[in-house]
């Protein structure tokens, strides 16, 4: 193993969009996107459960793709667009998914919730009327130790109905 002192802290200048806001920062090359969001930008809504790409609590959307931000380096997000749980509210109004998660009790301790909501939001963005199987498929990379899966699925179905209805009304 390399000597402690030889681990030179190399810094990189990055520019990225987080929840629609342009961010410029100088970051340590080795920090993950999750660490950057949580420690530098103080967006602690993105959780780190396992820190090794297994539990999904750090799920964010990077350039329209669902990713585990704990296994993605912050420098890899440079020039890209990041969406986190903090960006879902619009003008003080909760996203329909957030409302449905409350209504259908899609959470207990809430630690998996930001990741779950980002995953299901991504699903609804790409497939507005998913079947139950589609929802199960998209959250297969998100673990919920409270076991709220059934309510999460029902909340997502409900949000889908609401969003399709709203879309029809406008």
């Amino acid at each position: 193993m390399a000597d402690g002192n030889s681990q030179a802290l190399s810094k990189k200048y990055i520019v990225l969009t987080v929840n629609g806001k342009q961010i410029e920062a100088e970051v340590d090359c080795r920090i993950t996107l999750a660490e950057f969001l949580r420690n530098e930008l103080e967006l602690t809504g993105t959780k780190v459960g396992c820190n090794r790409g297994e539990c999904g609590s750090c799920t964010v959307v990077l350039n329209g793709k669902l990713i585990y931000s704990c296994v993605q380096l912050a420098v890899e997000a440079s020039g890209r667009d990041v969406q986190t749980i903090e960006g879902l509210e619009t003008n003080g109004r909760l996203h329909p998914l957030q409302e449905s998660f409350i209504e259908y009790d899609g959470l207990q301790c809430g630690y998996c919730t930001p990741g779950m909501i980002m995953a299901t939001k991504h699903l609804l963005d790409t497939n507005p009327e998913p079947k139950e199987g589609d929802i199960r498929k998209v959250i297969e990379g998100n673990l919920c130790r409270c076991g709220a899966y059934q309510n999460i699925i029902e909340a997502t179905m409900d949000a889908s109905r609401k969003m399709v209805q709203e879309e029809g009304a406008t």
């Binding site: 193993m1 402690g4 957030q98 998660f101 809430g110």
Partner: protein, 138 residues
């Protein structure tokens, strides 16, 4: 059994003439709004001024005995404020053990099974902040 049979005796009580405000009604969790917004603060989300980060180094070998701890390299690493082991924490109290009059890290740190002689490892310890690089030899 006798009691439970007694309990179901008699006729159904008459319906109440009023609506309950809570019983029988769904209620939203009061912490749910903060949680779906990502605003709820968990222990790992809290930063305090001057806060240090700790990392526990567990013995990597099952049933091994720690015969020696060498923390000198760890202490020299940049950013390291302290390396705690049984050598320098005698008499430290932990809240959960206080009642029993025991102290933190008294005796061996972990996996001390005196009857197991198969392993007799000298375990060199290095701890750094952040990425938690550690070195050990046996």
């Amino acid at each position: 059994m006798e009691e439970s049979r007694l309990l179901v005796k008699g006729s159904t009580p008459p319906p109440l003439d009023r609506e309950f405000t809570v019983i029988g009604k769904p209620i939203n969790r009061r912490d749910a709004v903060d949680k779906v917004k990502g605003k709820a603060k968990y222990a790992g989300d809290i930063k305090l001024p001057g806060m240090l980060y700790g990392k526990t180094l567990h013995c990597p070998y099952p049933r091994a005995r720690i015969t020696k701890l060498d923390t000198s390299r760890a202490e020299k690493l940049p950013g390291v404020k302290a390396v705690l082991s049984k050598e320098n924490t005698q008499g430290w109290r932990t809240s959960c053990r206080e009642g029993e009059g025991k102290y933190a890290l008294e005796g061996d740190i972990c996996y001390d099974l005196n009857d197991v002689k198969d392993f007799d490892n000298t375990w060199k310890v290095g701890i750094s902040t952040g990425t938690g690089a550690m070195a050990y030899s046996y």
